[in-house]
């Protein structure tokens, strides 16, 4: 029997892994994957809560919007990463350091 707790545990794990990925990865594309994990952990939460409560499908509706926004966000982010690649021939975030003081 899969209960709400199982879903919440998986989503908490996804969220933590996402944060971990964002903090440790040097490759911009890998960081973006970490961000996707964070957004999807929230989605999983929303859908699970909505499924296990009797108060309508607001959560599932929200999750659909989040999926669309996530796609738009990654499109913009990849465009920016591509511009970086054209200039520096790398997507390593350590190379993006001209603004440091």
């Amino acid at each position: 029997m899969i209960t709400l707790q199982h879903y919440l545990l998986v989503s908490a794990a996804l969220f933590s892994l996402g944060i971990l990925g964002v903090l440790t990865r040097k490759n911009a594309v890998n960081v973006l994957m970490g961000i996707e994990l964070i957004l999807n952990s929230a989605n999983l939460n929303l859908v699970a809560f909505s499924r296990f409560s009797s108060k309508g499908i607001d959560g599932q509706m929200f999750a659909i919007f989040v999926i669309v926004v996530a796609a738009a966000e990654v499109a913009v982010a990849l465009a920016i990463v591509l511009t970086m690649y054209r200039m520096l021939k790398t997507v390593n975030l350590d190379q993006a350091d001209v603004l440091k003081q």
Binding site: I38, L39, S41, A42, E73, Q101
Partner: protein, 496 residues
């Protein structure tokens, strides 16, 4: 008053106008190749003015919610509508003669600016978690593009990269917080959430979960308002973005962030009682915000002391100002809320003014460094005078508008009995005086490096400077209309 979708449309004109204008600007940009440089700004300004006209018209509508509880219709929303449209107009005017943006094609820039304005207006009005997240992302996504607008410029690209990575993580964490709120209450509407917190008592929920949700949610709002510890993107992004965009980011999305922060906490975690708001038991969010406010002010001001790049210095100064604005929103009184609105209003004029001067000097000298400002008083007396007024106003020295903002904020805090908080704020203002004075000192007392050519200022920029100087000088004398306007703008729609 809950309006359904069709009834809502008649209160939605300003937003509809902006939506049409976005499409029109994009269309005219690809259709009229020879006229577009004249037509696009005119179209943008006309639509913004029209939106202001309609916002004033619906200002007196009774409080309620639009689109079946998605957006609020109240005087608080009306204030931010006017405020954000005004900020957009000033930034459009300031961007027209910016050398940085002239190198690239400008059509999409205006369309993006309109889109951001639309997003910010929706953000300040939203009373539903889904709407709140969507509008916040609309603002974020378009501002990422605006920051990276200078294609091929390494600074601009790096700034936008840092902005989008920090932004995506913060809004992602906020979304996770929202999903937990949804789990606790089973609703996305802020008022239903408050009612459930009130009826069941917070004892029904785990204290740890509530704290976690608070921190996660604050990550999103803190990112938008550039509050410590979510401020790391701010100096780099401000330094790398084109100056008009920086000016815009430092004023408009920041205030929209405060609007949504106040809307969120006041609507979902307090209940109104007369002129005050009572806390929903067990959720002491003002305490968390007081801590953040003190940290934000202190860190922003101390970090600004050592900056030699004007844009970075103004970035840290804008972080510090976020701390002052937070001061007013944590006291939970009508006066407190009013003081934040007044502070934001004067901050609009002083900060945009400072960035305009920075942009004008960059146009002629191609420098953001403080050394480049040496001897500016001899080369461009009017420019140096304006910068002096903006700097003194940002410090909060009496004859200028910034003083009015600080006066209201500190008065509201003292009124509530938080004397130590006001003392921290005052000490911070004293520290801030040091780095603002450095700019004036460089312009007036230092000798220039031999370059004595006068700084060319276009007529438009001159007019804009005067338009920004007037409120800075006169608001302290004619504070009465502002006082009345903001006092009538603190009526948050409090549910059904």
């Amino acid at each position: 008053m809950v309006l359904d979708n069709l009834q809502s449309l008649s209160f939605f004109y300003p937003e509809l106008i902006l939506i049409c204008a976005i499409l029109l600007v994009v269309l005219s940009d690809i259709t009229f190749k020879s006229l577009r440089n004249v037509l696009n700004p005119l179209l943008t300004l006309a639509s913004l003015l029209l939106a202001i006209f309609f916002s004033i018209q619906i200002d007196h509508a009774p409080a309620g919610s639009l689109f079946q509880g998605m957006l609020a219709l109240d005087s608080f929303a009306a204030f931010f509508k006017l405020f954000l449209l005004l900020a957009a107009i000033l930034v459009v005017l300031g961007s027209l003669h910016s050398e940085e943006l002239l190198q690239v094609h400008q059509g999409e820039f205006l369309a993006l600016l309109l889109a951001v304005t639309l997003g910010m207006i929706l953000m300040a009005n939203s009373i539903n978690l889904a709407m709140l997240y969507l509008s916040l992302e609309l603002v974020s996504l378009t501002s990422y593009i605006m920051v990276g607008y200078l294609k091929g410029d390494r600074l601009s690209n790096e700034a936008s990269l840092k902005y989008i990575l920090f932004g995506a993580i913060s809004t992602g964490s906020m979304l996770y917080g929202f999903s937990l709120i949804y789990g606790m209450t089973g609703s996305l509407s802020l008022y239903t959430i408050r009612d459930i917190f009130l009826n069941q008592g917070v004892q029904g929920f785990d204290q740890f979960t509530i704290l976690l949700v608070l921190i996660l949610t604050l990550a999103g709002f803190g990112f938008k308002t550039a509050a410590v510890p979510f401020h790391f993107w701010c100096p780099d992004v401000y330094a790398g973005a084109p100056t008009p965009v920086t000016a815009f980011l430092s004023v408009a999305p920041k205030t929209a962030g405060f609007a949504i922060l106040m809307r969120f906490f006041f609507s979902s975690m307090t209940h109104p009682s007369g002129d005050q708001w009572g806390l929903v038991s067990g959720i002491n969010w003002p305490l968390v915000l007081i801590g953040i406010s003190v940290l934000t002010m202190t860190l922003g001001n101390i970090a600004a002391l050592t900056q030699n790049n004007l844009k970075r210095m103004l970035a840290y100064s804008s972080i510090a100002h976020a701390g002052y604005i937070l001061m007013g929103s944590v006291v939970l009184t009508g006066t407190g809320l009013k003081s934040t609105l007044i502070y934001m209003f004067v901050y609009l004029f002083m900060n945009l003014g400072a960035f305009l001067v920075v942009a004008i000097i960059y146009n002629s000298d191609r420098t953001f460094e403080l050394d480049g400002y040496n001897g500016m008083f001899k080369r461009a007396p009017f420019l140096a005078f304006s910068m002096g007024v903006f700097m003194l106003s940002l410090t909060g020295i009496p004859p200028f508008a910034g003083f009015l903002g600080k006066l209201y904020i500190f008065a509201a805090v003292i009124d509530k009995g938080l004397f130590w908080f006001a003392v921290v704020g005052t000490l911070n203002a004293a520290v801030a005086a040091f780095y603002y004075m450095r700019v004036i000192k460089a312009m007036v007392l230092e000798d220039g490096s031999g370059n004595t050519a006068p700084v060319p200022i276009s007529f438009l920029n001159q007019a804009l400077l005067v338009a920004l100087l007037i409120p800075n000088i006169l608001l302290v004398v004619f504070w009465n209309p502002i006082d009345r306007w903001t006092a009538s703008s603190v009526n948050l729609f409090s549910g059904l």
